[in-house]
């Protein structure tokens, strides 16, 4: 190992434990002395580098971390609370939507479903009869009245028509009861003038504040029913 190499190695790392440098030191006393000098220099450098550390630095570091942790936890609980609140609101909305929104998008579908649902309750040849007066009393809720009877009225009462208060009338028909709904106007259900399925068909009449829907089986003449309803119903303003 030549002198330059040796010096470089010692300068770069005075505590060099390389076999070559150790061997070189043992062979040459001047090299050994040089290494010792540099070691001493390094010791001095080490001494000089030991700047005093502020006494309270340790405590400050712990304090700072404790405060930061505390803040993070506070923020976390706030986030959790906000999350819980959001979930609750969304849950509420979904529930609301499911409960109160209609499964039917138009008047016809709902009217048919309603009629099928109550089909068993009305017999075409039932003996009960509702008078025109009591019918008109009920019609008053819709600001309307019939000036004469449309036929044998078997049943008349308020019922829920997709969540709206409406009047449900059942007249005697040729083969099966004819159902008439008086429904306040509503934007949720699309108006459709004519609708039908395999058994029943129906039509709707639009008036200023209400719709009147007639549902009957295929033996009835809906046109005739519509005509007589238009003729007999009066709306008070």
């Amino acid at each position: 190992m030549d002198d330059l190499q040796f010096r470089r190695a010692i300068y770069a790392d005075p505590n060099n434990q390389d076999e070559e440098t150790i061997a070189a030191q043992q062979q040459d006393p001047s090299k050994k002395q040089f290494a010792q000098e540099i070691c001493q220099l390094d010791e001095k450098i080490k001494q000089a580098l030991q700047v005093p550390v502020p006494d309270d630095l340790y405590n400050k570091l712990i304090l700072r971390q404790t405060l930061a942790t505390h803040q993070v936890q506070k923020r976390k609980t706030r986030v959790h609370l906000a999350l819980a609140a959001s979930v609750a609101i969304v849950g509420g909305l979904v529930l609301n939507f499911m409960q109160f929104s209609s499964a039917y998008s138009n008047l016809g579908d709902y009217a048919l479903a309603h009629v099928y649902h109550e089909q068993g309750s009305f017999a075409n040849n039932a003996t009960s009869q509702v008078t025109l007066t009591s019918l008109n009393k009920k019609m008053a809720a819709f600001d309307g009245n019939f000036n004469k009877s449309l036929g044998k009225l078997l049943f008349a009462d308020y019922c829920r028509f997709d969540g709206m208060k409406s009047l449900h009338l059942v007249y005697q028909g040729k083969t099966s009861p004819v159902t008439v709904f008086v429904v306040p106007k509503n934007e949720q259900l699309r108006f459709n003038a004519d609708f039908n399925d395999k058994q029943l068909f129906g039509s709707s009449l639009q008036f200023s504040n209400s719709n009147i829907i007639v549902v009957a089986d295929k033996n009835e003449s809906l046109g005739q029913w519509q005509q007589s309803i238009s003729d007999t119903v009066n709306w008070s303003i």
């Binding site: 300068y11 770069a12 540099i38 000089a48 580098l49 630095l57 971390q65 930061a68």
Partner: protein, 171 residues
């Protein structure tokens, strides 16, 4: 949670001195060094789970600190070059021979270009090997060794050129 706290406290206790000194030699200002150390340990706390090997803690912290120091320069560049760095620490108030020498040497070290002083500090103060320093500073090992050689060489020359009497003489 508790174990993390314990780990952190142990880490701070064991290494805050070394880290502070390292920061001090990076920026030559007590207050800035303290801020750097605080910022570093705060980051270390947040990322403590990623520290798997406790032996690597020191170089890990130094890496964080260096990044933090670089960030300080991104934020705003202090006009440091104008200011005479010779007056960095006041150890002259109580002076023994040893302290005077330390003070003088400190000046010399702080006058070294940072690319020379940094590996030297890492080696002497941190006890890192050439390979470790190369990895930390993102340099190759030969470059690190050359810089260490030049740093010591410059200090030695400065020492040899040193006047026999030094210190302050008034009047």
């Amino acid at each position: 949670m508790m174990t993390k706290q314990v780990r952190y406290e142990a880490l701070v206790k064991a290494l805050h001195g070394d880290l502070y000194r390292y920061a001090y030699w990076l920026c030559h200002e007590k207050q800035v060094a303290e801020d750097l150390v605080q910022e570093t340990f705060l980051r270390a706390w947040r990322a403590l789970d990623s520290l798997k090997d406790e032996k690597a803690a020191k170089s890990w912290l130094i890496t964080i600190l260096r990044r933090e120091n670089a960030r300080r320069f991104e934020r705003k560049r202090f006009d440091m070059s104008e200011y005479e760095e010779a007056t960095i620490t006041d150890t002259l108030s109580v002076t023994t021979e040893q302290q005077l020498e330390n003070h003088w040497l400190r000046e010399k070290i702080s006058q070294l270009p940072p690319e020379y002083s940094e590996p030297l500090i890492l080696q002497v103060l941190g006890g890192f090997s050439g390979e470790d320093i190369a990895a930390m500073l993102d340099l190759n090992k030969n470059t690190v060794m050359t810089r260490l050689f030049r740093a010591r060489n410059q200090l030695k020359e400065a020492l040899e050129a040193e006047p026999v009497k030094r210190g302050m003489y008034n009047g």
